[in-house]
Each structure stands twice: as C-alpha cells, then as structure tokens.
Symmetry: C2
Subunit: 307 residues, 2 copies
C-alpha cells in the first residue's frame, strides 16, 4: 500500500481530518469540535488525535504517512508554520507546525493559511484547473485570499501574501479588526455587512440584510451594493498589481444573488482595460472537502522549503 496524506481543516468550531490516497481520493475522515477555549495544547492534542483516527480508519498509521497538511484561519508565517494571529482560536504566536509534529511522533507537517489551502485546491482540482496566475478570494464572515503566481502558491517574504481583505477602499472608512480603516472587509464581508447595516439603524444578520435588500429596503440595498462594489474595487486593485488570468470567488456571502456579478462589473469598470480584458471571474467549484484537500495538497506541493 502506498502512503497516505492527511489534510486537516482547523476551523474555529470544528477540526476535520481526511486521509487521502496518492490520487487525492478520500479514504477516511474524522471530525471533532475545536473547543478553542480549552487552550492551545488541548486543541493541538485534538488535531493529533483526529489525524491518528483518520489514519486508523484507513487501516494505516503514522509510520506510513507521507505528511500532514493543516489549513487554519489567520495569519500564518511560512515556512515555519507559526500562527502569528488567529482571532477565531484566540491564538497569537503559536508554533503550530512544531507542536503538531511533536504530537505526531515527528511526522512531516505543513501549516498554512486555510485560504492558501483553498486556493491550491481550486487551482488543481476546481475552477482554476490549468491556470497559472490566479487569485482565490473567499467572502464569508471575513474576506481572505490566496495567490497562485506562475503556477505556484505565492506566499511572499514571510507567508502573509494574499490578504485581499485588507485592501484599503476608503482611508477614512470604518475601523477594521486589523487596526486599519476602510479595508474592503469592513464593507464586503458578512460581518461588515451586518455592521454597516446597523449604522443605518437596521439590526439583522447577514442573510437578513440581503433579504431586506431583496424586499426593496433602501438602506439594506445601499449596504449590499456598497459591499459588492467594495469587493470589485479591491479586485480591480489586485488586477492592476498582479495581472491574473482568473479570480475565483468563493464563500457563502459571495454566493448571494447578484453579489459576484456586481463585484465583477465594478472590477471591469475600474481595472486597467488591457488587464481587465484578460481576467475571468469565476465562482469557486469546490466545497465540502475543499479545505482538507487543499491542506493535503500543501504536503504534495511542498518543495522542501518547509523542512
């Protein structure tokens, strides 16, 4: 039997581990609550247990594993796998790669941002198959991204590349969680839509704001249109800087009716025409296992820089 690769999606509420064979077909999976409130060691322990359990269900064990890839939300240093900041876990400067490798008898571990894992999954198996220059952007509670440049994940000097959520749309705009002001995330994300609606006296969750807009509420309509326009502006800036072939838009908020289309319209109005001409805007094609598949791809595409 050929060795398995385990991909782990470490989220704020759940840990999902999937064991894949050489063709990246899923062989076994496990899920566990993250329970981040119990602290770093408890979470790392549960990730390790999930990996061992997935391997056991696949009839294998750590001796036969090719490697373990982990995608986690937050800002993660590459290749060290140090979680610099993960607000959904309450972590700051957690050496996740080293802790997890130690908890797994020294197994090879890659840790990267979940958005990079998702970008890789879309590039290899999803909407970006065959493309060499793309941005993956996900619009959910927040706005995040990952860049594939010249056919490879681009991580920048320290692993932080792809923070499309922190393109500044309005320097005098609302305060962002990052410490800045007027980042696209404060307009375009689910949390941003809720906060901007509240400024208009409209108290509702993200879906409620979209529903109110569909029902013709003027404040909700303004908030929703501003959200898509802000995303479009940020994408125009990205296009002018990195000249991608495609932008793949994923995430629940971007799936709202008309949202991606309006963002694309704004992008095409605002980007340099010659660069807008060559970029396709595509919906993400993967869900479900995408996070875990991307995490497993981190292992198979690790070119050794992380060792």
């Amino acid at each position: 039997v050929s060795p398995l690769t385990v991909g782990v999606d470490l989220g704020g509420t759940h840990i999902r581990a999937v064991a894949f064979d050489d063709d990246l077909a899923p062989v076994a999976r496990t899920a566990a609550p993250t329970a981040a409130e119990e602290g770093v060691n408890a979470v790392v322990g549960r990730v390790a247990e999930s990996v061992r359990a997935a391997l056991a269900r696949a009839g294998s064990d750590l001796e036969d594993v090719r490697g373990v890839g982990v995608g986690a939300a937050g800002l993660i240093e590459w290749p060290t796998g140090m979680v610099l900041l993960a607000s959904n876990l309450g972590w700051r400067d957690v050496p996740l790669r080293d802790l997890l490798s130690a908890a797994l008898d020294g197994a090879a571990v890659d840790v990267d941002m979940d958005t990079n894992a998702a970008a890789l999954a879309e590039a290899r198996l999803g909407a970006g198959r065959g493309l060499r220059h793309l941005l993956y952007v996900t619009v959910g509670t927040g706005v995040g991204g990952g860049e594939l440049l010249d056919g490879r994940l681009y991580r920048g000097a320290s692993g932080g590349a792809g923070q499309i959520g922190h393109v500044v749309i309005d320097p005098a705009g609302p305060r962002c969680g990052c410490g800045g002001q007027g980042c696209v995330e404060v307009y375009a994300s689910g949390a941003g839509i809720v906060a901007r609606a509240r400024e208009h006296g409209l108290t509702a969750d993200t879906e409620g704001v979209f529903r109110a807009a569909e029902d013709g509420d003027p404040a909700a309509t303004e908030v929703v249109e501003r959200a898509a326009d802000a995303l479009g502006l940020a994408l125009a800036t990205y296009v002018n800087l990195n000249n991608p072939e495609a932008i793949i838009v994923g995430g629940g908020v971007a799936a709202a009716p008309g949202y991606r289309e309006r963002a694309e319209r704004t992008l095409r109005q605002r980007a340099l025409p010659a660069l807008a001409d060559v970029v396709a805007v595509l919906p993400g094609a993967l869900d479900g296992d995408a996070g875990a598949i991307g995490a497993a791809l981190l292992v198979s595409e690790d070119d050794g820089r992380s060792t």
Copy 2:
C-alpha cells in the same frame, strides 16, 4: 572576445543604448532624440541605428551580439513585446519586439516596461541586492512599478503586473489617465501634484509646489502631504497583498525632502502590523545607466519564454 549585450532605454525624448560586456560593465554608449512625432517606423529605425552604433563603438557588430533588451514606458505585453499603450510615444498596439528584431537582422530582442527593467537593475545591482521579494516603485511624472517575486521579475498573465500607480486610493477621487478615478497617481505623481495644486488655485510646476510647501503655504502643504500619504496607502495595500521584504522607492518626485519618509510612515500605520514588520523601505541606489542596465538584464535573465 565574448559577445556583448545591448540595453536600450526608450524614453519619450531620448533613446539611450549601452553595450555591456559579460560582467555588465558598459563598453560603449549612444544617445539619439526619440522624435516620436515622426512615427513608429522612424523611431524603430533610430533604435536600431543606436544599437548598431553602440556595437560599432565597442568594436563589435550584430553578428556577435548576445541580445538586445529594451525598456520602454507604457503598458507592454509579455513575452510578445507588443506595446499596448505608450502615451509618451503616442503608440497603441505596436509590435516593437518584432519590428526591432527585423530591423536588426533577426537579433534576439526583449522588450519590457522600463519599470520592470529598473526593478531588475535595483534587484541585481542596486538597493535590492540579495533580496527575493521586492517592489520597485518610481515616482516621477507618473507612478509606476515592477515586482520581483521569489527572486524573479513577475509579469502576471500578460505582462501588466506592477501597476502600483493604479491602486485606487479614493473611488470618488479625480479622474485618472487610465480611465479610472482616484488612483494613487492622481495624488502622488509630479503631474498629480501639479493638478491637485491647481484645484487649490495654486499654479506652479512640481518643484514650485514643493517650494511653496516648504515656505509654509497651507494649500501646497496639504497637496504635498496628501501625495506622500496616498503613496503610503498604495504601498500598504501592496504589502498586504504581496508581503515584500523591501520596497525600493526611486524617481525624482520621491526624492523631495521628507516625501519618502512620510510615505513610509503612512505605510507602517496602515499595513497589517505583522507584514509591516518585515518590510524595509529603501531609496533607489541606481541612476544614469540604470534603465539601460536593466534592459540588458532582461536579456541575460530571459528564461526562454520570449522566444
């Protein structure tokens, strides 16, 4: 004798050609007026003459040339060397690489944006020596840039990457030459400073506006501070997207007292702290032959994609 490489800086007013030896030491140089008003064929002819003359002065000729690199202002498709738009030459869709190669008996020719040539020169021989992830930005009449990612010039899907001048600072801002609004170039460039000062009733050239600001004129001060802040904001967005090790700032306008320093301050306030921590902001170290050297480097670093 080993073959020479010729680097050509094709500007709006002058054509400068320099023949370099294997160590990129200049061996001979020529200069000619561009005289763009005489049309594409005349300009291409003068570039070819300049290349032949530089080689002749170096005691060589086209039979012994390694290649000819050309850096030109404007938006240039890579690797085809098609000048999509060069407003200083009045060109649109000019196949410069092919025309010049034909005029040079089929010699190997690389044509790229002058900002990419300058970025390469700074990366290999200037302020960016030894770095693998940098942005070169030049602030003169306009604002332009070039990206070195993972140690190589990054051109994007079609050659347009690095248009830092068209990061949108204010979506409702003044109209930009690109068709958009509120691009950093309309605030931070020499032409932008002049235009913004005029809106304040101050008619002066760029130097005049800087002098008025030094003399305490409030409108001029506001325009100059806004210029540097706009550049800093655009650089913060760049840092959040591409996580560089260094930003090298060149160009005459950025050399004005305090300009680069203020832009850096704004960048550090606005970028994600973890990414601001790892980026150095440096003045460009090259001038004079930098454009021609960079153009020659296009030849020596061409990995064959342009053939």
